[in-house]
């Protein structure tokens, strides 16, 4: 019996907890992609870099706060800096729209044109980030590292397997839940939110109803920028901040958004967790887990790992392919076919 409990704790520690935190980060990223797609109708390849930009601004403000001797007790100082990061990133998005996207929107360019333009922006932002903060790896979390350490857990339960929960993981979940709740309240309950949904659902009819497209687009970019800054910062806090990684995050984020149906915010959240859990569960070696469940003194021969962790991005791709083959509109029926 104790073996079973140990197996469950093992899985929780190495799979459920990290996957939940990662799922929250992906969900926030995918929400940004899906909102842009819903309202502006193109896949924003610059989204990964927008996330990186938001994280960078947060890091810079964090350093500034730290240099003033300001801290946030047990929580990372970055949490105090986050609102600044959100505001600056939202501003960046508005500028991007004003200087770049608006022209193509008004000339009714095909979506793929906007996609190519977003690639150009990706270059620019990526270069700017490296110019400002450099390509190096940065760890910027401070405060208490663990909410629950392995030792505390073992002392508490007397089990041989430990369970640790990092502060940053908890933070990812809490911040994501608060933000998502606020976003859905906004979309479902407020006039502006409803007009955004209406615009995303049926642009012509929204215009007929007197919705101002410029306002909807501006509000969308504000939200997307703020969400991206949070997603980038949480990811950077949990792992580390490295400008390169955000380009490769693009694939799981798009996979998450497509699984849930592009343009569907609820779908993006579910998609984020589907991708995160599949990635973590398929690349985990189950050797020790099976050893707990199997008979005494028995261990599986190999690592019992479905895929090497090197291929974790392949998981999102496979999910993407399956969705495209089986149900291209996504599980929650997005906008496109």
């Amino acid at each position: 019996m104790e073996d079973v409990v140990n197996a469950v704790v093992l899985v929780t520690n190495f799979l459920v907890v990290p996957a939940t935190a990662y799922g929250c980060q992906l969900a926030l990223g995918a929400l940004g992609v899906t909102l842009v797609y819903g309202v502006l109708r193109f896949s924003n390849f610059a989204h990964g870099e927008i996330m990186a930009f938001g994280a960078m601004v947060t890091i810079l403000v964090t350093w500034l706060l730290q240099s003033w001797g300001v801290g946030f007790g047990p929580l990372p100082t970055a949490l105090l800096a986050l609102p600044a990061g959100m505001a600056v990133t939202a501003g960046l998005c508005l500028l991007m729209d004003r200087w770049v996207f608006r022209f193509y929107r008004r000339s009714k360019a095909p979506p793929v044109m906007l996609l190519v333009v977003s690639v150009g922006l990706m270059f620019v932002i990526n270069g700017l980030i490296r110019f400002v903060i450099g390509p190096a790896d940065r760890v910027f979390t401070d405060g208490t590292r663990f909410l629950l350490t392995v030792r505390e857990f073992k002392a508490l339960t007397g089990l041989s397997e430990g369970l640790a929960i990092k502060t940053t993981q908890t933070l990812s979940v809490v911040v994501a839940v608060v933000l998502v709740a606020a976003l859905f309240w906004f979309l479902e309950r407020t006039r502006t939110g409803k007009s955004m949904r209406a615009f995303s659902d049926n642009e012509d009819l929204a215009l007929l109803s007197g919705v101002s497209p410029e306002k909807v687009v501006a509000v969308t970019w504000l939200i997307v920028g703020a969400l991206a800054a949070v997603a980038g910062t949480l990811y950077g806090l949990d792992k580390s901040f490295k400008p390169f990684t955000f380009l490769s995050l693009l694939l799981p984020i798009f996979a998450a958004a497509i699984v849930g149906g592009l343009g569907n915010p609820l779908g993006a959240i579910v998609g984020g967790f589907v991708v995160a859990f599949s990635e973590v569960f398929l690349t985990y070696p189950y050797r020790k887990f099976l050893a707990y469940l199997g008979p005494e003194d028995w261990r599986p021969d190999g690592l019992v790992q479905f895929l090497s962790t090197d291929y974790k991005f392949a998981v999102s791709f496979v999910i993407l392919v399956v969705v495209l083959l089986v149900k291209p509109t996504g599980v929650f029926s997005g906008k496109s076919s």
Partner: protein
């Protein structure tokens, strides 16, 4: 209604544009010569060779984007497959590795193939819906386990064979030029798969799917050591041209260098690079001729008709998705050829050098700057953008030095700016892409109306 005036004006435009085209190419040649005079001729030729390869890659992307409006975000992956072809074709086979695990790998591949065939058969035979999916899933999972059981020990055995030198199966020991064809074929195969899945859906899906497939191809090449040594890299790919050392040892060459009055080392380097340039130029000319012929043929007219109005073309009974698949495969094959040529030039295969900004998005800048839809434009774009990409670094450093010259040499702002100058070229490339798209969307050499 007659389109006669339109034809006339197009002809006049073509005539007007011919000098512009020549002038632009002449200017490009002058720029390369400038490097020769100011820096060194060896460097100038090195730039020229990469310009030629970039031009071929750009031609491939132009076939997809310019002819058909397909966005391929996976140029990197197709180019990397070309590099893999270089290894597989030219390196000598590693016999001990084949003995250790060759059979196992072949069996595993056979098992994978059988699984796919079985899955297809099951899918065809079983009619009930829910039951069918379950059966297919079971076949696939069982097949995966069977293949893995054969594959894992074989791979371990192969990778254990003299890991510091080989540890992989090696290639077929053929002349490396064949790899250019094989690279094209590998890339075409991968493109067929990606296109089959995502074409016919929204244009964005192709972009995302190709982004994914290229990431996976590169991951595969990095971690499958049994195939191409992964991050341990493969060095010393055989060359299609003479080695510098051999030239320097040849008596006729020593005499030639003496008559020209240049050092043997310099001359040998220049001669080798010229040989490469001749080979690459030959490939470029052939591909260019084929592309131009295709554009002029009814096939090209049909492709443009589909690009300009998909709905109308579909209404006229054209199978748009099938045409798109065709053009996507062709373009990717050209990218694969260029990838194999690049590995040939480098003489090595290093999977870690494949980075999307360099291999996917830079090629895109080349296409857009050159003039999408025009093969000459694509080639010129490849030349211009590669040239400035390489030369931007010294230029950027010089510029930063100039801008920050009022500051003291040990000023932290100055040292940070000097260090970061290299990153500015990403910003510049992005800005070039955005500005060209916005203010000169037809590029340096616009598409001709035929």
């Amino acid at each position: 209604m007659s389109d006669f005036p339109a034809t006339l004006s197009a002809r006049a435009g073509g005539m007007l544009r011919a000098p512009r085209k020549s002038a632009l190419f002449a200017a490009m040649a002058a720029l390369i010569c400038l490097v020769g005079v100011a820096q060194s001729w060896s460097l100038a030729l090195a730039i020229l060779n990469l310009c030629l390869i970039s031009a071929i890659m750009t031609l491939g992307v132009n076939i997809q984007w310019g002819y058909a409006g397909l966005f391929n975000a996976g140029v990197m992956g197709f180019a990397a497959l070309g590099g893999l072809a270089g290894v597989l074709v030219s390196m000598p086979p590693v016999r001990p590795a084949w003995q250790a695990g060759g059979a196992g790998v072949v069996l595993a591949l056979a098992a994978a193939l059988v699984t796919i065939v079985a899955a297809v058969l099951v899918h065809r035979r079983i009619r009930q819906r829910g039951y069918r999916k379950l059966a297919v899933a079971l076949v696939v999972v069982a097949g995966c386990f069977a293949a893995r059981a054969l594959f894992d020990p074989a791979v371990r055995a192969i990778e254990a064979v003299d890991p510091s030198v080989t540890g992989y199966l090696g290639g077929f020991g053929l002349p490396i030029v064949f790899s250019w064809f094989v690279g094209g074929a590998l890339a075409a195969g991968a493109a067929w798969g990606a296109g089959k899945i995502s074409l016919g859906l929204r244009a964005d899906y192709l972009a995302i799917a190709t982004l994914g497939i290229s990431e996976i191809i590169v991951a595969f090449l990095k971690y499958e050591e049994w195939l191409s040594r992964g991050v341990k890299n493969v060095f010393g790919l055989p060359r299609p041209v003479p080695y510098e050392v051999d030239l320097q040892n040849a008596v006729w060459f020593q005499e030639w260098a003496a008559t020209l009055g240049v050092s043997q080392v310099d001359l040998s380097s220049i001669v080798v690079k010229l040989c490469y340039a001749a080979l690459f130029a030959l490939v470029l000319v052939v591909l260019m001729w084929l592309s131009e012929a295709a554009l002029r043929a009814p096939w090209g007219r049909m492709m443009r008709a589909i690009r300009d109005n998909e709905t109308a073309a579909e209404a006229m009974g054209k199978d748009v998705t099938a045409r798109h698949l065709q053009v996507f495969v062709l373009g990717s094959a050209v990218i694969g050829i260029a990838g194999a040529m690049l590995a040939t030039l480098d003489g090595q295969f290093t999977p870690t050098t494949y980075h999307p900004l360099r291999f996917t998005f830079l090629i895109w800048v080349m296409v857009i700057v050159g003039g999408s839809g025009n093969n000459w434009g694509a080639v010129l774009g490849g030349f211009v953008v590669w040239y400035f990409w390489v030369e931007a670094e010294p230029m950027g450093l010089w510029l930063m030095d100039f801008i920050t010259s009022p500051l003291a040499p040990d000023n932290p702002v100055r040292s940070h700016l000097m260090e970061s100058a290299a990153h500015m070229r990403l910003v510049v490339m992005g800005l070039v892409l955005l500005l060209v798209l916005r203010f000169a969307p037809r590029g340096l050499i616009p598409e001709e109306r035929r």
